[in-house]
Symmetry: C2
Subunit: 342 residues, 2 copies
Amino acid sequence: MEVRNRYVATRRHIEGAPTEADFEVREETARWSPDSGEVLVRNLYLSIDPYQLNRMKRSSASHLAVDGILPGQRIAAYAAGEVVASASPEYAAGDVVAGVLGWEDYTLFRPSPAVLMSKVDASGGFPLSHHISVLGTSGMTAYGGLFEVGKPARGEKVFVSAASGSVGSLAGQFAKLAGCYVVGCAGTKAKVDLLKDKLGFDDAFNYKEEPDLKSALKRCFPDGIDIYFENVGGEMLEAALANMNPYGRVALSGVISEYTGAGRRAVPDLLEVIYKRITIRGFFAWDFLPRFAEFNATIGEWIRQGKVQVLEDVSDGLESVPSAFAALFSGQNVGKKLVKLA
Amino acid sequence: MEVRNRYVATRRHIEGAPTEADFEVREETARWSPDSGEVLVRNLYLSIDPYQLNRMKRSSASHLAVDGILPGQRIAAYAAGEVVASASPEYAAGDVVAGVLGWEDYTLFRPSPAVLMSKVDASGGFPLSHHISVLGTSGMTAYGGLFEVGKPARGEKVFVSAASGSVGSLAGQFAKLAGCYVVGCAGTKAKVDLLKDKLGFDDAFNYKEEPDLKSALKRCFPDGIDIYFENVGGEMLEAALANMNPYGRVALSGVISEYTGAGRRAVPDLLEVIYKRITIRGFFAWDFLPRFAEFNATIGEWIRQGKVQVLEDVSDGLESVPSAFAALFSGQNVGKKLVKLA
């Protein structure tokens, strides 16, 4: 079986903020045969995540954990799709799967424990898109980062940056469910209103309108911050450290402002870290893979009960991937950015 | 009872590297009476520690954890001394004590659970100086930082900066006893030789002779660093992060290069921290106070068995405190800096 496969590729390594012109849509012929051991998936929803930018750099600490992306090559990405043909006893045509597929129309994969892939259980009744957002890596990052790294206790004060983003919007809601006082920051008034009015944050502020981030956090947290769920880096991390309480925890999920090199890097006051005995811990979703099912059972129940609002920002068509991806770095998305394929 | 008490005081807040001229020796009359509830101690050994500089600043995160030092005032410091007169049933004249006393000839204290003070058990047979170095806060910092924060496993690779200092020299030896591969850095050839020849470090380098710290660490740790026992900050932290292994731990004990503002602050690559899932944790000796006796039992036994070498660098007389303290910041001490009073 042969299919024409369109895929998004980078034209070059990307070192700064990405633009649409950094990408192109290429075509190839994907070949599947019954004796290949492979599974052919037609992709339906693609996950568009900021961390992919680090993979696109020539050199990055990211390459230690995830393969770098070479110009002209296919780009592996979390996605959901439908099995079109299977040469594996584990999958059958018509199965719906979510896992590591790619920014492309079709993906071939060979089942193995090393391949992150799961069959979507339709009995849960969730939209397919949820399986690559709140029930995918975004939910896992938010849940694992908050509960395993942040370790919130009831009544603690939690600050979430990039709080209207895919991970931040969930981390903040999860922190509320843990009985915490939660403040988020975002970059527009509409996002700030969303955090307070729809997502139940106790407070929120527009960082672009704050002349001094330390003062803004002091105002929002007169009793200090216990947990900082960090998505942005730079000056925001410095300001959060200055406002943290003793034994505070920084769950270092991402530093999007530092990915593009546009913002300056954080220069943390390490005396704050020492004298407050702060813990800063880096992590990412896959650290929690062994507990994926357990996390999703809890998150799914919260969604059913209306306790968690899921924000998804969907673009249409493979050709929209470059603009959807670039938009992440100018703050144009709200919640999880996805691309729906026809 | 009245005694003439000489004490060291700062003349002003100190923001940069300290010099002798920043200090003066003042005199007062200390008054003790039998109904005061107080204990009068004649100090015998004073501990000279870099962290005191942070207390001398006008503003510092240090003030959150330890009282700031005001110009002209007495300076509380870890010390050992002999009880001269006691109005407390817990102490008697002739008792030898170690704990928070001061940079002065005599200190009055009122026993309470909030006052860090212990009677020295002479049966251990250790020199009195040991009770404010290896069996005092330096030992507690090294032991707690290595074992509780660093959590070394046998065979792991440990890097110690300022490795010939009071804490570093112990942390490195403790890491060897934990079965680790240990490399230290210091600022002179003599110190480097000391680390390798006397303290049993597997390797050591003179950071002042390395044009590129990242390369130096790459050379010393071809298989990467698992634990960084951090005493200096700045560029050294950046270089260590670049050479750390996944799930590495930074035990953030001190950042002496950043205390004086002379060196630039660390600008850590947070992508390293995220993608390697590094934990950076600040701590200080008093976090481990509940386990003081347990730690000291182990450390004391190691000393008796000749497994730990204790480096003490002793100056004589109260008037030598300012120069002894200033010397810490130009790397002139080897091991624990102490001042012995007449």
